[in-house]
């Protein structure tokens, strides 16, 4: 529960001087994501602790090494929650890593991603300068949105030191319904239900079952449940299912396999990703396990497994690459921070 900003700043300044690569790490729960990179470890795990939390403001500010499980516990004492439902990976995942890797749970289509709850953050750039962007208020358009830019940047633009997050009230009640149906029928069903004003917070399809999670007020959930029908899952089973969804544990690549993630329009046909095994986010996220490499396609990334020195995030256009290279340079001119983690050229 210490503020190690000065120490972290110093370590990056030193690396800037010697142009030595650094590898940012805290809970080390997401090493399998992105490309492999090397460098001296900057350990953010001990830079932890809640800086401020005001339940009536719906804002929590915590150091990057603070564990998601700790935030969940603290918020739940005040009947509040993190809106983007991040994975906690056996309690080890941290809020800094969650933001950098842009990790969201099943409620993504209804309650938004990390960026939708992120209000501000502290960042140490590749010069070793500690900076603050955004803030703790709900609306803020002063200056460029460097805060949200970090979502998914995998630490390649800076080391996140602290984050301010908008939180929401905990749901009063909720349960999960299941429906036996094929993936094709499930896709159509999800599209239809997503457009009704129902308190749905998760819709996934796995092995012939459509899972629909309802959360909200008592009467809203009860009337939606009656309207939809289906079988109600035992709460413990439902909880485990949604936890497995957000932690990506439903599909585990074996030795030669690659886990592919496809992201696109929720009404794309089922063959948009051949051999889809799991449909999440009401159809806009799909997953497939394959023995060998797949043909690159729009929206497809090599999420887990396979060659981690390949361009796992797919190809991007030449102007886009040139722009991202210039942005990287604007933050980290010597390319010392998580070099190559996102793309080989970054």
């Amino acid at each position: 529960m210490d503020d190690l900003t000065a120490q972290l700043e110093q370590q990056i300044q030193q690396a800037y001087t010697t142009k030595s690569p650094l590898k940012i790490q805290a809970g080390n729960t997401k090493a399998y994501l992105g490309r492999d990179s090397s460098g001296e470890v900057v350990d953010v795990a001990n830079h932890s602790g809640v800086i401020s939390y005001s339940p009536t403001e719906l804002v929590i500010r915590a150091r990057a090494g603070t564990k998601i499980s700790h935030l969940n516990d603290l918020l739940s004492e005040h009947q509040q929650r993190l809106p983007f439902e991040p994975p906690s990976f056996a309690g080890e995942a941290t809020i800094g890593g969650t933001v950098a890797a842009n990790q969201t749970g099943a409620s993504r289509p209804w309650f938004g991603g990390v960026k939708d709850s992120l209000l501000g953050l502290g960042l140490i750039n590749g010069y070793g300068e500690a900076m603050q962007f955004g803030g703790q208020v709900m609306k803020n358009v002063a200056g460029f949105d460097v805060t949200r830019l970090q979502c998914g940047a995998m630490g390649s633009l800076g080391l996140i030191t602290d984050v301010s997050i908008k939180v929401l009230p905990e749901f009063k009640t909720g349960h999960t319904l299941t429906f036996e149906m094929t993936a094709e029928v499930a896709l159509q069903t999800m599209l239809r239900w997503a457009n009704l004003s129902l308190p749905i917070t998760g819709m996934s399809h796995l092995q012939g079952l459509l899972y629909v999670r309802l959360q909200g007020g008592d009467s809203g959930v009860a009337s939606a449940s009656e309207f939809l029908g289906g079988e109600q899952l035992v709460p413990k089973v439902a909880k485990e299912f949604w936890q497995a969804v957000r932690e990506g544990r439903l599909l585990q690549p074996q030795h030669n396999q690659i886990l592919w993630r496809w992201s696109g329009s929720s009404d794309a046909p089922i063959h948009a990703l051949p051999d889809t095994s799991l449909i999440n986010w009401a159809g806009s996220e799909r997953w497939a396990l394959k023995a060998s490499s797949s043909t690159p396609a729009d929206g497809l990334i090599q999420y887990q497994g396979g060659d981690r020195l390949a361009e796992v995030y797919g190809a991007i256009s030449a102007p886009q690459q040139a722009l991202q290279e210039r942005i990287k340079h604007a933050f980290d001119p010597h390319r010392i921070l998580n070099a190559g983690r996102l793309y080989s050229w970054m």
């Binding site: 208020v137 709900m138 358009v141 390649s156 004003s197 729009d298 722009l323 996102l342």
Partner: protein, 490 residues
């Protein structure tokens, strides 16, 4: 229809750079139809300012392209000849962000106004940047959908402008700002390169460039297409109004309500001066003896709304509301909103001029900040009416002044500056939704340190190394910051 000018008009533009102007216009004529180029002083007059009319400047030339290819060609031309370019939507912005550049081209995007596609299945719309905000909601209506961000200028403002400013509105408490309702944009860089940011899905891999571009005030590129999220219309919408004897009590009621886990679709506050002005103007039955009024909108299914309505009414009563009015039908709900929506023009009726500020503060500071604003108001001798998005702490103090009185505009600006620095002092920001533009440049070094400002400048350079896109706006130069700091320490 505006046309190309006679030679004598062009002469008036000449000076040392007259030849360059003529050359620029000739080049533009090769790219655009005559009706898309405006040069005469008289015809350019409507474009000399945005919604913040105290800042005015005529551009060298105004262009109104009709196609994306034309936009791309204009950008390439400006890049080639190192000509500053200012993008503009409907010009409803309130920070002089779209004020033209004296030596530059004003790029008006209003003719790119096609709704390209509404996908009912996915509840999304693909639009050109000149589509008006309300026109999109109107077009989505037959599908039972609407576009959530609803700034008060929604009848006129465009989606392109909304992206540039990250516009909010009265419903962003629950449904978010532009950044939360956008999936993808196609942007053209100053070099004329087309870049797609975001995607068809929800979270694309890599850094979030889409969010970076939202709210960047035309400094990073020109958006030529946007894919936005639409929301299903809630089956039931309920509006209620609560009157209080003090703004502090109303502020406490807001904090208590949020603390109880209720996030209304909208939660607005007006103070006594704003209530009286609005009631005089629209006569909807606001209690004019109240010191503060809360307007709260709940939406959802019948069951959800009923459940919330009970909690809200009880919470408002417990926190001292002396009058609660629940709209009986859609017409009454509309009337209750009408006063709030007409608050700015209503204040315009009781003062020759007014100046609208836009700070955001932590909700818990509302009482303190409003008290400080009324002290400042007394010491400057200028009245201030407060209308604001109470749910998210976004204040819109309206400073009443008379520009025809010598020095009063300057006093209003000074008072405005004091209000913005007050917002920063309590942990807030100088702008919640209107943007920095030219107007709030002075407060930027107050909110940000040198390292952050330098980072902004390097980021700007990554997109536009020659500072051709909307130069002089949004981010203060190093020289400006150095002068600011030396004044602070001097």
């Amino acid at each position: 229809m505006d046309t190309i000018l006679s030679t004598s008009d062009t002469h008036s533009k000449q000076g040392s750079e007259g030849g360059d102007v003529a050359a620029l216009v000739s080049s533009l004529q090769l790219l655009l139809p005559a009706s898309s180029i405006i040069i005469s002083t008289e015809s350019q007059r409507p474009f000399e300012c945005d919604g913040l009319a105290v800042y005015q400047q005529l551009p060298l030339v105004t262009v109104i392209p009709e196609t994306v290819d034309q936009v791309q060609a204009i950008l390439r031309l400006c890049h080639l000849h190192r000509v500053p370019l200012v993008p503009r939507g409907a010009g409803t912005g309130l920070c002089a962000g779209a004020m033209p550049h004296a030596e530059g081209v004003l790029l008006v995007m209003s003719k790119l106004d096609k709704i390209l596609h509404i996908n009912q299945n996915t509840a999304t719309a693909t639009v050109q940047p000149g589509v008006r905000n309300l026109a999109l909601t109107d077009a989505a209506q037959p599908f039972g959908l609407y576009y959530a961000p609803d700034p008060s200028s929604q009848i006129a403002c465009t989606i392109g402008g909304n992206v540039a400013e990250n516009s909010g509105g009265v419903h962003c408490l629950k449904y978010g700002l532009t950044v939360n309702n956008l999936l993808q944009v196609t942007m053209i860089t100053i070099e004329g390169q087309v870049i797609i940011l975001g995607g068809e899905g929800l979270d694309e891999p890599g850094m979030d460039l889409l969010s970076l571009v939202v709210g960047s005030e035309g400094l990073l590129g020109v958006v030529v297409e946007a894919k936005v999220k639409l929301l299903p219309r809630a089956p039931r919408v309920q509006v209620l109004l609560a009157a209080y004897d003090s703004v502090t009590a109303a502020g406490d009621a807001v904090a208590a309500l949020i603390g109880q886990g209720i996030i209304p679709a909208g939660l607005e506050m007006m103070d006594h001066l704003a209530i009286s002005a609005a009631e005089d103007f629209v006569k909807v039955g606001y209690p004019t003896d109240a010191q503060a009024l809360l307007i709260c909108e709940l939406d959802g299914t019948d069951a959800e709304v009923e459940e919330q309505l009970a909690v809200v009414s009880q919470c408002f009563t417990e926190h001292g509301a002396h009058h609660i009015r629940i709209a009986k039908d859609a017409a009454e709900a509309e009337a209750l909103w009408q006063g709030r929506k007409a608050a700015f023009p209503a204040v315009g009726r009781i003062s020759p001029d007014y100046y609208c500020m836009d700070g955001t503060i932590p909700r818990g500071q509302v009482g303190y900040v409003l008290t400080r604003i009324s002290e400042l108001s007394r010491s400057y001798g200028l009245r201030v009416a407060n209308v604001f998005h109470a749910g998210d702490g976004n204040l819109h103090p309206l400073i009443l002044f008379d520009a025809s009185v010598d020095g009063e505009l300057q006093q209003a600006e000074l008072l405005g500056g004091d209000i913005l620095t007050l917002c920063v002092d309590v942990g807030g920001t100088i702008t919640g939704e209107h943007g920095v533009g030219l107007e709030k440049m002075q407060q930027m070094p107050y909110q940000f340190g040198d390292a952050e400002l330098a980072q902004f400048r390097r980021l700007k350079a990554a997109f536009d190394s020659e500072e051709l896109l909307n130069p002089g706006k949004g981010i203060p130069t190093l020289k400006y910051c150095q002068e600011y700091r030396s004044l602070q320490h001097g």
